[in-house]
Amino acid sequence: MESSLNLNHLKDGESAVIRSISADGALYHRLTGLGFRVGKAIAVVRHGRFKGPVQVRIGTTDIIMRRSDAEKIRIIATAAP
């Protein structure tokens, strides 16, 4: 069950730990540049309306990405704070 969780499963305000990043090429380099690393904590701040992008926070950086890309970030759910 847990292995199939990705970033899109998080609701606004929830956080998790990045388990793997299954992106390649340009997207992978962009993600690492912005601080996406396996083992890092990631929080979903909000979702855009009409299936718009998702805003996430890693450390001190806020990032927006499309849901199709967020799907590629697999996560391990952490207990709610």
Binding site: L27, H29, R30, G48, F50, G52, P53, I58, T60, T61
Partner: protein, 595 residues
């Protein structure tokens, strides 16, 4: 001369640093090995002159984005004597690996930790001396925005370029080869020299976002904000443009006309109505460009533009565009020229080109003047607002259709993963410098093209010299007659075709040219037009005017911003085709239904 390359990730204040370091002296220029322009400036460091080059902000050296390629190619083709890395001090956890990659180049390097004030505010404690000891390069905490720490910066840059190490080509590829150790090294460095608080306090930006990115309020607030900015630019811009026009006319009547009175009529006309009007056309854009970039700097540097991307992406992604394209499209309704220049915020060339293809369809204020005149002449007071509204609607529709038609040709390879920087207020200095740079850029790149175009149209309408100017016996008249088989099926007669030729220079002069063509002015001109044209012809003419060709200045800007004559010609061809089809469908359709 020594050369210093400025490297850093996006949103680190690298350009602010560059501006602070170099002042207003920066120039846009071409470089071997790359296709985009880069800003550079010469500064005096110690007893040497150094050229500082502002390279595009990138996230890594391995990426495939255009900017990443530009940086790699630049470093391979242009030897540099020193590198200055700009990092955001508040985000060292993710930016240090980037710096370590650069250090590997083996060049004299200075590490600049910018936004030190923000980092301190967040409770992040950085031991620059420790970091410097470990890395064995100078590490300086500074604030480019407020100018603190710059004494150290210039001292260390001077020392770096006097080391006499210059990187040749070939080193670059190798230096960025493998990354595995860099991550670990960055982590060590971080734990040795940086202390961050465990839990970051909820900051002001998050609170502002809760309103501006609100699920229901976000979009209405965005439109309200755009409306206000638009009003600000174009209501303030109008009197300024009028002021420029007044000054130019004064200069002409008081100085130039008496001065050139002795010249033959043709030379006089060519100099005053050709070249001088061309210069005037260019000058009229200056106030609008200044105001536009004053506002855009505010919107961009404040961080709101990336929020717009968040708000509009769901809608714009379907058109192959993004939220920033939408902002520029809206601004195009004021004036296409600065809107085209503003697309430079988009880093992906394809996204930018698609946006530039769409903007010329925005019904700008100059076109509005033509439509106001014609609707006043041919439509009743009751129907005029609906006619104008339909033109605005069609303007949007053609823009969206164009995006849909070409979105598969211009596919952005840039991943849509964008940083939302905290809200920041730019300083007046930043705003002023930006306006100055953009105006100079416009004047330098577009003025010759525009002046040449104005002169060409003047010649067309005044040769041969022994017939009445702007009449059907001039060259322009012959062109109009020659185009008649093409334009009569859409209801546009010879006189109106002539006006279209003038309209290519600037839509502002269409009404004036109609006056010259018909030899009447004001109410008399309106009366004559109402006699000669019916409403179907008039609407078809407006439709064609809306779509057929943006003004000369827009075309010049299309060319300079895309750096591609083929793109400019393609854009012109597409608009002409679309305009003809739209007018044809309307005119023949209306006639078919008996109007």
């Amino acid at each position: 001369m020594k050369r210093i390359a400025l490297l850093g990730m996006p949103n680190t204040g690298k350009s602010t640093f560059f501006n602070r370091l170099t002042g207003a002296s920066a120039r846009v220029g071409n470089w071997p090995g790359i296709t985009v322009d880069l800003l550079s400036a010469k500064i005096i460091l110690g007893n040497m002159v150094a050229q500082v080059v502002d390279l595009p902000g990138i996230y890594s050296f391995h990426g495939f984005s255009e900017d990443e390629k530009v940086v790699r190619d630049f470093l391979e083709s242009n030897p540099v004597d020193a590198v200055a890395i700009v990092l955001n001090a508040a985000q060292l956890d993710r930016q240090l690996p980037f710096a370590l990659q650069v250090v590997r180049l083996g060049l004299p390097t200075v590490l600049l930790l910018n936004m030190a004030d923000e980092a301190r505010h967040l409770g992040i404690n950085i031991d620059a001396r420790k970091m410097s000891e470990i890395l064995r390069i100078p590490v300086i905490l500074l604030s480019a925005k407020y100018g603190s720490g710059f004494q150290h910066v210039t001292q260390n840059l001077a020392r770096a370029i006097s080391a006499n190490v210059t990187a040749g080509a070939g080193d670059v590829e190798q230096a960025f080869a493998e990354d595995h150790q860099i991550e670990a090294k960055a982590a060590d460095l971080l734990s040795a020299a940086v202390r961050s608080p465990k839990q970051l306090p909820e900051n002001t930006s998050a609170r502002i976002d809760r309103v501006l990115l609100h699920p229901w309020l976000g979009l209405p607030l965005f439109f309200l904000l755009m409306f206000l900015l638009f009003q600000f630019i174009f209501t303030l811009g109008k009197p300024m443009q009028d002021g420029v026009a007044w000054a130019l006319t004064e200069l002409r009547t008081l100085w130039l006309e008496p001065l050139m009175a002795g010249l033959p009529a043709f030379a006089n006309g060519l100099l005053l109505d050709g070249i001088y009007s061309g210069v005037g056309t260019v000058a009229a854009f200056v106030p609008i460009i200044i105001l536009f970039f004053l506002v855009m700097t505010l919107v961009e540097d404040s961080g709101y533009l990336s929020r717009v991307a968040f708000l509009m992406d769901a809608l714009m992604a379907r058109l192959g565009l993004d939220g920033r394209s939408f902002v520029m499209l809206l601004m195009g309704f004021g004036c296409n020229v600065p809107a085209l220049m503003g697309t430079r915020v988009m880093r992906s060339r394809d996204l930018r080109l698609l946006t530039m293809l769409v903007i010329p369809f925005s019904l700008c204020s100059a076109r509005l003047q033509v439509f106001l005149f014609i609707t006043a002449a041919l439509f009743t007071v009751e129907t005029a607002p609906a006619v104008l509204f339909s033109l605005y609607l069609l303007s949007f529709t053609t823009a969206l259709l164009t995006a849909l038609a070409f979105k598969n040709r211009f596919v952005s390879n840039e991943p849509f993963v964008i940083e939302l920087p905290p809200y920041r207020l730019p300083t007046w200095r930043q705003i002023g410098l930006r306006g100055w740079h953009e105006v100079r850029h416009f004047l330098k790149r577009a003025s010759k093209f525009i002046t040449a175009g104005v002169v060409a149209v003047w010649l067309l309408t005044h040769i041969p010299t022994d017939v009445p100017a702007s009449s059907s016996e001039t060259l322009a008249g012959y062109i109009a007659a020659w185009m008649a088989p093409l334009l009569s099926p859409i209801g546009i007669d010879a006189q109106l075709s002539l006006a279209l030729i003038f309209g290519f220079v600037a839509k502002e002069i269409v009404v004036g040219s109609l006056a010259a063509i018909y030899g009447l002015e004001g109410d008399a001109l309106m009366g004559l037009m109402a006699q000669k044209l019916d409403w179907v012809q008039a609407y078809s003419f407006m439709l064609f005017t809306l779509i057929y060709l943006p003004c000369l200045s827009t075309v010049a800007t299309l060319r300079t911003e895309s750096k591609s004559r083929a793109f400019m010609l393609g854009s012109i061809l597409w608009s002409l085709l679309l305009a003809w089809l739209a007018s044809f469908a309307f005119y023949q359709g209306a006639r078919l239904f008996g109007f």
